[in-house]
């Protein structure tokens, strides 16, 4: 099954490129402390050192003389962490709600879907801003906010899948064999919704990274963590003096999000 999947996946060139980029970003994130033993916040050179001016700081320095390339490497950690954890959290909210709604139908479905729609009708970015502002910006509040605004599509997807799976004969067989609803949902239904969920999740990670970046850009990032969005946000005011401060993190976000989208589609 796995080999089969690989074969299909590797035939999609975009997906392979996406995977290569993502693996690279993950490696950079993991190895950041080894490649750049010093903190990315450390002021290492004069401010606004242009890129390629000194071999030691190939991408230059920012307004406080901090090494841009080191910031990018540590930023990868934050972006990936936020992307993954918030997506997992969103799945943990969305899957149970979608599964219960789809499996039981009726008023349970109605109630849960109205609840879901309530979240869907609020513009997600606006809601995320409000949530982060209320709880004070920190990595936890950002992850929570992103999870809270991202779960409704999961719930809808899972509900749809469960609805179609619920009438499958093997589910009926499970009912006849006396399994409880919970067992049936967990063992018969949900495992078969995994493929579309994985696809959705990879796109959600991309969206989460964008959301985190946007929040950081607006100054609502965790002030103690170097993230790509923070770097762009901080560079925004000096964009005319120091284009590279916004450009390189921008490219990093673009590539990572693009990679995740390519993988999701592959």
């Amino acid at each position: 099954m796995m080999a089969d999947f690989w074969k299909r996946f590797s035939r999609n060139r975009g997906a392979v490129i996406g995977l290569a980029i993502l693996v690279f970003v993950i490696l950079v994130a993991l190895l950041a402390p080894l490649i750049f033993p010093q903190s990315p916040w450390r002021m290492v050179q004069r401010p606004f050192l242009a890129p390629f001016a000194m071999d030691q700081y190939p991408l230059g320095t920012d307004a406080l003389g901090r090494d841009v390339i080191s910031g990018l490497a540590y930023g990868a950690q934050v972006s990936l962490l936020v992307g993954l954890v918030s997506t997992v959290a969103a799945l943990l909210i969305g899957i149970p709600i979608g599964a219960l709604a789809g499996y039981f139908g009726g008023w349970v479905d109605d109630a849960l879907m109205r609840f879901t729609e309530f979240f869907q009708t609020v513009p997600s970015f606006a809601l995320a801003i409000v949530l982060v502002a209320i709880f004070q910006p920190s990595i936890e509040s950002i992850i929570a906010a992103i999870a809270i605004v991202s779960w409704p599509p999961v719930a809808r997807l899972v509900r749809g899948e469960v609805l179609s799976l619920r009438s499958r004969e093997y589910v009926e067989a499970a009912i006849l064999s006396g399994q409880t609803s919970l067992t049936i949902i967990l063992r018969q239904v949900l495992p078969n919704t995994i493929s579309p969920i994985i696809v959705l999740a990879s796109l959600m990670v991309a969206t989460a990274i964008l959301l985190e970046s946007s929040l950081s850009f607006l100054g609502l990032g965790d002030p103690n963590l170097m993230s790509w969005g923070y770097m762009i946000g901080a560079a925004r005011t000096v964009i005319r003096q120091a284009w590279w401060l916004s450009f390189f993190p921008g490219v990093a976000i673009l590539l990572t999000v693009l990679a995740l989208n390519l993988i999701g589609e592959g």
Partner: protein
């Protein structure tokens, strides 16, 4: 004899790498003459549709012809360009498919779809096209052709849709008609009508017809000549009579032997046996539509006052065409569906009134075998798990449940090693055996088999039927066998209930039903069974 319309010479079609064999068809040769019906028969995967698809230029992407030629009136179709093929398709060669619904555009009126055929070839004026459409619909025997012309495909029945397809195929008076399993999705009575229509049209227009089917009954009804295919090769070819009455090849013999015989044996009466399942006054209605925008909800009486009795060790057949309510009855019995009224007494307890824990407990005694061997097994569970889940849900330890699963696998003639494999590693027949093992895992008294062999090839079907009969005997099971196939019912059932529109129109011992049907409907059904006359002749 004149020259053949279609002549296939040493055709080889390659499958993509990694398929279970190298060639879809391997070095086949046959001719098709004007005015005859050639049946290509084979089980699924035999490659029986491939040569026709190649002739129409409709092969899937990675499948390509690698050798031989397909001569149509002397031209090699494999060498034609796509444009030349397009001109040929419809005009000289027409094709009808198994599922007319997917071949028709759901958003276009029937007459427009027929007119489109002329339009594609730049023929006739719009007015003439409309008139011709009515003519064609009349010719294919659609009642009220004027009205049908204005209809959308979803407003027609399956048989009517197939007639529309045939009308479209005939529109340009083709020299050759390819019919790929055109009656498989139809009820037996409709099937008989369509077969007759094709036969009549073929004679009237003097067309060459290539008829692809898996059903020897259909072959017996319609074929002039037969070619039997297995694993991409033609194993036997000849006139219909030669092949059916005196098959030479071992495979053909096996296939014909596997066809359930229509003759039902007289079984001993059930008088002395105790009833295990008693159904009284069972009703179930569906309400569809009836939303705010619809004037009136449509009420369908799927199960209408049905009474049944099933004795220990007995097999009761419920037969009927699609929509007769036979499946609804089965599902009401196991409470996958909530009946509106009526009692279902299983060993004295009323299943219809139970709920929660009591229902869970009662269900142990009544289990089900499903139709689709692909949809009825969870693709993400291993076989052992699938079988053991039921007992485990009822408190049997994992170890014991798996031990029992191994025994059950042996019982249904599968290897014990199967418990560690996934369903997709098994063939359709093997999967159905797993489904049976699962149903047996809870040691039920009654098993309901809902079209349990309908999706299987005929040789596999025979094996599974034998297995069921044997298990029933050994485990003293009572069996309710729901099927649309009267041959199958005749072979396995002690008694048969015939259903039509939610009602049981006739019920009695199997041999009585077949030999002396009381209701008109039963008689129509039996007469529509393909190949029946041939069989009677042979018997006579």
């Amino acid at each position: 004899m004149t020259d053949p319309v279609l002549s296939i010479r040493n055709l080889k079609i390659a499958l993509p790498e990694g398929a279970d064999r190298d060639f879809a068809v391997n070095d086949i040769t046959y001719d098709l003459y004007a005015g005859e019906i050639l049946c290509i028969v084979g089980e699924s995967g035999s490659g029986k549709s491939m040569s026709a698809n190649a002739a129409m230029g409709l092969l899937p992407d990675l499948v390509r012809p690698v050798g031989g030629e397909i001569l149509f009136e002397g031209t090699d179709l494999l060498k034609l360009s796509e444009t030349e093929m397009m001109d040929l398709r419809g005009k000289k060669i027409a094709m009808i498919f198994q599922e007319p619904m997917s071949a028709l555009n759901p958003l276009m009126r029937v007459e427009d779809q027929i007119a489109e055929v002329f339009e594609a070839h730049g023929l006739l004026t719009p007015k003439e096209r409309a008139a011709r459409a009515i003519e064609l619909l009349t010719e294919v025997g659609i009642p009220d052709p004027e009205k049908a012309a204005r209809a959308y495909p979803f407003q027609l029945s399956g048989g009517q849709r197939q007639r529309v397809m045939i009308a479209m195929a005939l529109a340009l008076e083709p020299r050759m008609l390819i019919a790929d399993e055109p009656t498989t999705a139809l009820d037996v009575t409709t099937q008989a009508q369509i077969l007759e229509l094709i036969r009549n049209l073929q004679e009237k227009h003097g067309m060459a017809v290539m008829f692809i089917t898996h059903d020897f009954g259909v072959v017996a009804e319609i074929a002039d000549r037969v070619a039997v295919m297995q694993y991409g090769k033609i194993v036997e070819a000849g006139t219909a009579d030669e092949v059916l009455d005196n098959p030479q090849h071992e495979y053909t013999q096996k296939l014909i032997a596997a066809i359930p015989k229509l003759a039902a044996e007289a079984s001993e009466g059930m008088a002395g046996k105790t009833p295990i399942l008693e159904v009284e006054g069972l009703n179930k209605t569906y309400v569809t539509g009836g939303g705010l925008l619809f004037s009136k909800p449509r009420i369908v009486h799927a199960v209408n006052d049905v009474n049944l009795t099933l004795c220990e060790g007995e097999t009761l057949g419920i037969v009927g065409e699609s929509g007769s309510g036979k499946s609804s009855v089965g599902r009401c019995l196991v409470r996958l569906m909530q009946p509106d009224s009526g009692t279902v007494k299983l060993a004295g307890h009323d299943m219809a009134q139970l709920s929660g824990e009591a229902l869970r407990e009662a269900r142990k005694s009544i289990q089900m075998i499903f139709q689709d061997p692909y949809a009825s097994l969870n693709p993400r569970s291993k076989v052992g798990r699938i079988i053991a889940e039921g007992p485990m849900a009822h408190g049997v330890s994992k170890q014991e449940a798996y031990a029992r699963a191994v025994k059950l696998l042996e019982l249904v003639d599968l290897d014990a090693l199967a418990i560690d494999r996934y369903p997709h590693e098994f063939s359709g027949g093997q999967r159905q055996r797993i489904g049976i093992a699962r149903a047996l895992a809870l040691e039920p008294r009654v098993i309901i088999a809902d079209e349990a062999v309908s999706a299987l090839d005929v040789s596999i079907q025979a094996q599974v039927l034998d297995l069921l009969a044997e298990l029933k005997e050994r485990l003293n099971l009572a069996l309710i066998f729901i099927t649309h196939d009267l041959r199958v019912a005749a072979q396995i059932c002690d008694r048969i209930a015939v259903m039509q529109k939610g009602k049981v129109v006739e019920m009695g011992p199997a041999h009585a039903i077949f030999n002396n049907p009381q209701s008109d409907y039963t008689r129509t059904l039996i007469e529509a069974i393909p190949g029946r006359e041939k069989e009677l002749a042979a018997a006579g």
